[in-house]
């Protein structure tokens, strides 16, 4: 999902930067609030960020014959919501842009928008809807992670199709969706399963903290 350095026209860089800065700023405010209210969740924020760090460094092969990487954004989104996840994604994307020439500083805003905002937002909405409906949080987290990952790549495809609508927006979107989203389906399933395993252990070790953060289904808390 990394749009490479310099591969977005300037006006799109600016648009995505503006949107992302607002969300990240709100996310930083939220991180402060969460840490003030429940100091013990600090470690959980670190683990959510670390999970993204690990997963986004793994370039995995897909059945389409190309390689891509999962995002790890569903866990943070389910625990702390999309704005906090946007902050964590910014750290990961900065690391990769500066040290790995992966993504870039000019495209940072666009990449935060897809991996830190759209993916987590959808994952968070789905997670909240499922747990409110009394579906086990372990099942809900699978769909949050699966959709958070997949929608990140769908968002990237939309961003590229908007910037390069040649010959038409529709055909450009199809082209980028084939490159990104189709490759991502099996990886997103794998990410979903990995997140379920982490979630299961979290539930076993920190049930009170999860209940305090109000992220469990009503019948689990």
């Amino acid at each position: 999902m990394h749009i490479m350095e310099g591969y977005l026209p300037l006006q799109w860089c600016i648009i995505w930067f503006v949107i992302s800065i607002i969300v990240v700023a709100y996310g930083i405010y939220q991180v402060k609030k969460i840490v003030d209210e429940t100091p013990e969740s600090k470690a959980l924020i670190a683990v959510s960020g670390a999970f993204m760090f690990v997963l986004s460094s793994l370039k995995l092969p897909s059945v389409t014959g190309s390689c891509s990487h999962p995002c790890g954004n569903g866990l943070g989104a389910a625990l702390f919501g999309p704005a906090v996840t946007a902050v964590l994604a910014t750290i990961v994307l900065l690391f990769q842009a500066i040290l790995l020439a992966h993504g870039g500083l000019t495209t940072l805003g666009a990449n935060i928008f897809s991996m830190g905002i759209v993916g987590p937002l959808i994952g968070w909405i789905v997670y909240k809807a499922l747990t409110k409906g009394n579906i086990s949080s372990t099942i809900a987290i699978f769909f949050a992670a699966f959709l958070g990952d997949l929608l990140t790549y769908v968002a990237t495809s939309f961003q590229l199709a908007l910037a390069f609508p040649s010959p038409s927006f529709g055909s450009a979107l199809t082209k980028f969706l084939v490159i990104f989203a189709v490759t991502q389906v099996p990886l997103a399933i794998g990410e979903g399963i990995l997140t379920v395993i982490i979630w299961d252990r979290l539930k076993a070790y920190k049930p009170k903290l999860l209940a305090k953060l109000n992220v469990l289904a009503p019948n689990e808390a």
Partner: protein, 96 residues
Amino acid sequence: MNKTTLIILAVICIIIFIAPLIMFNGHGEDDGYFGGADDAAGEAIEESGFEPWFSSIWEPPSGEIESLVFALQAAIGAIIIGYFFGYWRGQSGKDE
């Protein structure tokens, strides 16, 4: 979840990521397999005639250095996760 379910889930995960290696066994980057999706998108953009207007301020000088930094990234994340999960497990005082 009990241990068996967790192990089954882990095995499914491993199968998902090994399957492509078996399916496309014998193919390589030279005949267009296992390339990165990010690069594929970059090529698609270049085909439309767009010239990248900015390039990375620093790039890993070789594949070796790149894999070093990627390994570092994974290690940093894994240490943090392992540290806290070990700590929490010890705190919770029981082994399931």
